[in-house]
Amino acid sequence: MDSVVLIYKGIYILAIFGISLLIATYSTYFERKIAAFIQDRVGPNRAGPMGLLQPLADAGKLFFKEEFIPAKANKTLFILGPGIAMLVAAMSSAVIPFGDTLILGETSFDLIAIDVNIGILYIFGVVSLGVYGLMIGGWASNNKFSLLGAIRAASQNISYELAMGLSLIAVLMLSGSLSLKVIAEQQAGFNWNIWYQPLGFLIFLICAFAETNRTPFDLPESEAELIGGYHTEYSSMKLGMYLFAEYINIFVVSAVMATLYFGAYNFPFMENLRNAFDDPVLGNNVVTILGVVVMFAKIFAFIFFFMWVRWTLPRFRYDQLMKLGWNILIPLAILNILLTGGGILLYEYFTKG
């Protein structure tokens, strides 16, 4: 790997890190704005034009608040908890393909930080580590409510990760690869996976809500029953880290859903556009840049959907949550695998036989 590529990767990784932090920051703003709009209010509008500086004001406030650590808390783990949550959340965007290939001069640049052939496995591995952050933080607080929240988070994540993984297998059967880049390339044009996997997408979507601890599955942090769940004892920026990690997770899950089911950076008629240019390099670059825009548009659409649902649906009861996960979603996901397998066999029988 020559030095140009190495420097490029460094810059790209920093850029992706910065973008995920920026999107998480402004997710808090848009969450409040969308909440307000749905409730016929106008939302934050005092800090800066249209309240656009509100996230900065919030961060400033959080940094200057007292860092409180309970006397009987396990201090090391108490600090480690939000750290793990944040680290794990920021790590997971590394393997997501935000765009195709840019060609500048002689070299071509892939718009993906690390193109590993086990991309989706990496994301699942890393994201499920995130529950350690909640678990450690909740346990180290030495508070019953925190512990209850942490236990809820852990059992909920385990239950829904099963259905999520099973619904994912159907996609992998279609693509035959675990690499997110390959999966993205296979959905060129309008050949998106959602047309083949509507049921799988629905299961994945519901599980994504549960995995990110969002309403209607935000039982680990339900204010009414658990004060604040695992972050009851947290204050200042440590609390900020937990909330921040949640928003980064939403961003990552939105990106994963866009990549797996909604064709990542692909958009209809992209080949026609590419061929419309006389210079193939220019055509490729224009399509790539448009692809990045399309990818982020899809991600933002999903983030909006997450917030839209949050202000529409009430919270589940815990037994309902478990029942939905184990009795409905997992059998449905297995049925989806069977249907997909049958479909693939039929397709091969009629095309190759």
């Binding site: 016929d40 209010r41 106008v42 839209w308 529409t312 649906l313």
Partner: protein, 154 residues
């Protein structure tokens, strides 16, 4: 429950539709310091003691407003106009002090109706604002009398 009811998804879609409708609805908020809610034309706000066209105070301290006041918010002491004060007070008798307790006042407007000299009015564009101390709510002549008009408009 039927199968479609048990799937919940149609109901969820319906709910999402309702929230989306509200998302695009016109907001009810009035951004207070920048905009104010329009008030009725006969809205009764903070009192003002008017001056006549020459800038002399109209009030003659007859006390009818204090009598009419159901909340007993108005007190005044009368004094006699001296020579050379004709430009200050229109009548020979005038109010030396004139106080309205805004904590007692119910803004009924009966003082306005009782006044024979058209001296006291409840303005339609000013409120009695919130204050920190109770004694600050007793408005004297310094805060009630209409400010003198500038020379060119006189």
């Amino acid at each position: 429950m039927t199968l479609s009811e048990r799937m919940y998804l149609p109901a969820i879609a319906q709910g999402l539709g309702i929230t989306l409708k509200h998302f695009f609805k016109k907001k009810a908020t009035i951004n207070y310091p920048e905009e104010t809610r329009s008030r009725s034309e006969i809205w009764r706000g903070l009192h003002v003691l008017k001056r006549d066209e020459n800038g002399a105070e109209r009030c003659t301290a007859c006390g009818l407003c204090a009598v009419a006041c159901p909340a007993e918010a108005i007190t005044m002491t009368a004094g006699e106009r001296k020579k050379g004060e004709e430009h200050l007070y229109r009548e020979e008798k005038y109010a030396v002090t004139y106080e309205i307790n805004m904590l007692r006042c119910i803004f009924c407007g009966l003082c306005e109706e009782a006044c024979p000299k058209a001296a006291i009015f409840l303005q339609d564009d000013k409120l009695a604002p919130a204050r920190y101390e109770r004694d600050e709510f007793i408005y004297g002549k310094d805060r009630l009398v209409e400010p003198l008009k500038t020379t060119e408009t006189k």
